[in-house]
């Protein structure tokens, strides 16, 4: 167990290191950040001085070394735009993104799994065909467009939901969370629904595929040969087996949600770190972009790790190695 943990830790660190190199290289070769900090009419001397201050006059390797050290210390420098530590900016906005992602995932699971189980258990029924057509549509939709349609219908046309922004927040453990207020829920519904659709469709399809796959297995027939009802066999024997492949992609789906949140936050002006990233890209606010990427890389790596552990807990055949 300990050996496995150590191995994974090393792997994760390696991945993060590779990401840091790539991020650094990309950032170094794109644009010259010195122009972000000096005024337009700066003289050459002022520009050179700014370069020195930012450490941009040194060799790439040295720059990377500095980059790495400050990274490890958690110091990413100040945002060029806000003149505040980039890390703080991102962390402030993280709860907003996290709550939207969580609600979207909960929605996706709540709808996808039951429908997927039904569609897998009764593949030829009319309803199943409709469900499957719907799920195929779900993965064909451009998410941002759906968000726009929802805004138009529910906010502009019918005025039932707000079209943008985050609702009131209440504080819990020092974090500002909008899920604790009614207004918060009122504001989160449209963005969360928009975000959830793609994942919902994929989870539904995987659940259905899993159920159909499991239906072919011998142990299902054997359970029936014992005298169990069809229903019992489906849910008690089949479901858990069918959901194993779903768990495999769960981590990836969570990652996808975080990624697509950037777009959703942009449409709904949701003050999360995704929106901050997009704004920072427009404004070439390098430190913020770097923080976002490294943080998100860390989150993904951790999610994958947790999923692997969960996987071994569900399937007794899999052992950690």
């Amino acid at each position: 167990m300990f050996g496995y943990l150590l191995k994974r830790l090393i792997q994760m660190t390696l991945v993060l290191w590779v990401v840091s190199v790539i991020v650094f290289l990309m950032m170094s070769f794109t644009g010259d950040p010195v122009f972000m900090v000096v005024p337009i009419d700066a003289t050459d001397a002022e520009i050179a001085q700014a370069r020195r201050l930012l450490g941009l006059d040194q060799s790439l390797l040295v720059q990377y070394g500095k980059f790495l050290t400050s990274l490890v210390q958690g110091d990413f420098g100040n945002s060029y735009v806000f003149r505040q530590p980039a890390m703080t900016l991102i962390l402030e906005r993280m709860p907003a993104t996290v709550e939207m992602v969580l609600v979207a995932m909960a929605l996706a699971i709540a709808v996808a799994i039951p429908l997927g189980v039904y569609a897998g258990a009764n593949p030829n029924s009319r309803i199943s065909r409709v469900i499957m057509a719907g799920s195929l549509l779900g993965i064909s939709l451009p998410g941002f467009w759906v968000g726009m349609v929802l805004i138009y219908l529910f906010a502009v046309h019918w005025g039932v939901f707000p079209s943008s922004g985050r609702g009131d927040t209440a504080e819990l453990f020092g974090l500002r969370i909008s899920l604790l207020t009614w207004d918060g829920w009122h504001h989160i519904m449209l963005p969360a629904i928009t975000l959830s659709l793609g994942t919902m469709a994929i989870l539904l399809r995987m659940t259905r595929a899993g159920m159909m796959e499991v239906g072919r297995q011998d142990f299902m027939k054997f359970a029936r040969a014992k005298g169990a009802t069809r229903r019992d066999v489906l849910y008690k024997h089949g479901l858990k087996n069918a959901l194993i492949p779903v768990v495999t992609i769960f981590g990836l789906q969570l990652g996808d949600l975080i990624a697509f949140a950037t777009i959703t936050e942009t449409i709904f002006s949701w003050p999360g770190m995704g929106k901050l990233l997009i704004d920072s890209i427009y404004r070439a606010d390098r430190p913020v972009i770097v923080v976002y990427l490294m943080l998100v890389a860390l989150i993904f790596v951790v999610i994958n790790f947790i999923v692997d552990i969960v996987y071994t807990m569900i399937d007794p055949r899999i052992t950690l190695k």
Binding site: P142, M148, Y152, L252, A259, T262, F300, V301
Partner: protein
């Protein structure tokens, strides 16, 4: 040719509603992309042809609509329907070209990894694994933010994201093929690696590649649309469907919905058609289910 029409594939195709609808949609788009611009009176990107007086006309079935512009016009007086046709060209072009590039690159890398193994395999697969643990949209977004906008840059970003699935599939197929005895025999007989690849490995890997490639076009269309929507995709001078939606977003809150909704419907229909057909292909070409 007639052999094809008598094959089991075609027989199942005829019986599958989704396959027929899917391929019909794809054909429609192919036609629209190729012939479309010739069918529409107005070239929406010819400034001279535009009339600001025609701006923001709603679709023709609504009050204030104009039959010249069946789906309405945008802020510059551009016909939405014409814009969609031109935009679809760009979206489809990007999707197809990126798919071809990804497929070529990925297959090549997969073959190298599977065939030569060793350090090449290790490096290629490591990169693939790392890439796969991150959502493609994020990687594409990041790349675009670094290299700037433009169709060529979009193609590069999409290729960088899309090669992985081909490489893995081809590598897997290659590995299992070279284990097989007839390949070992061929090697002993002195057949060159290239011949072995061409005669034994590629034919077996072809069917999953076709399925992946088909569906990937749709995936790329969606990713490109998202990138363009965020402003890091195609340039304003060559608006894809995604960019059209972005342009329409700004006026959505004033109730002018048609400039953004219809391009979205177009994307949705195109990708839906591709997925319908792709699903059918997958079921048909999958030997395991037979």
């Amino acid at each position: 040719m007639t052999g094809f029409f008598r094959s089991e594939f075609f027989h199942n195709y005829k019986r599958s509603t989704s396959a027929i609808i899917g391929s019909a949609l794809m054909a429609f788009f192919a036609f629209a992309v190729l012939a479309g611009p010739f069918l529409v009176a107005q070239d929406p990107y010819d400034i001279a042809a535009l009339n600001l007086m025609d701006s923001y006309k709603p679709p023709m079935w609504l009050e204030g609509g104009d039959p010249r512009f069946p789906l309405g016009t945008d802020g510059q007086g551009r016909d939405v329907w014409a814009s969609i046709l031109y935009g679809a060209r760009i979206s489809v072009f990007i999707g197809l070209v990126a798919m071809i590039a990804s497929c070529t690159l990925g297959t090549l890398l997969g073959l190298v990894a599977g065939f030569y193994g060793g350090i090449a395999d290790a490096i290629i697969m490591r990169i693939a694994d790392i890439q796969l643990s991150f959502p493609s949209i994020l990687i594409a977004l990041f790349l675009m933010s670094a290299v700037g906008t433009g169709i060529d840059k979009v193609l590069i970003a999409l290729t960088a994201v899309g090669w992985v699935v081909y490489a893995r599939t081809v590598r897997g197929s290659t590995l299992s093929e070279i284990e097989k005895e007839y390949v070992q025999a061929a090697k002993v007989a002195g057949l060159s690696n290239r011949k072995i690849i061409r005669k034994h490995v590629l034919p077996n890997v072809l069917t999953p590649l076709i399925v992946i490639a088909t569906i990937q076009v749709g995936t790329f269309v969606l990713i490109e649309a998202s990138l363009s929507f965020l402003g890091v995709g195609v340039p304003i001078t060559q608006p894809s469907l995604g960019l059209l939606i972005k342009n329409g977003f700004d006026v959505l809150f004033s109730g002018l919905w048609w400039t953004s909704v219809f391009p979205g419907v177009a994307i949705m229909t195109l990708v839906f058609g591709i997925n319908l057909f792709g699903d059918f292909l997958r079921d048909e070409l999958n030997p395991r289910l037979k």
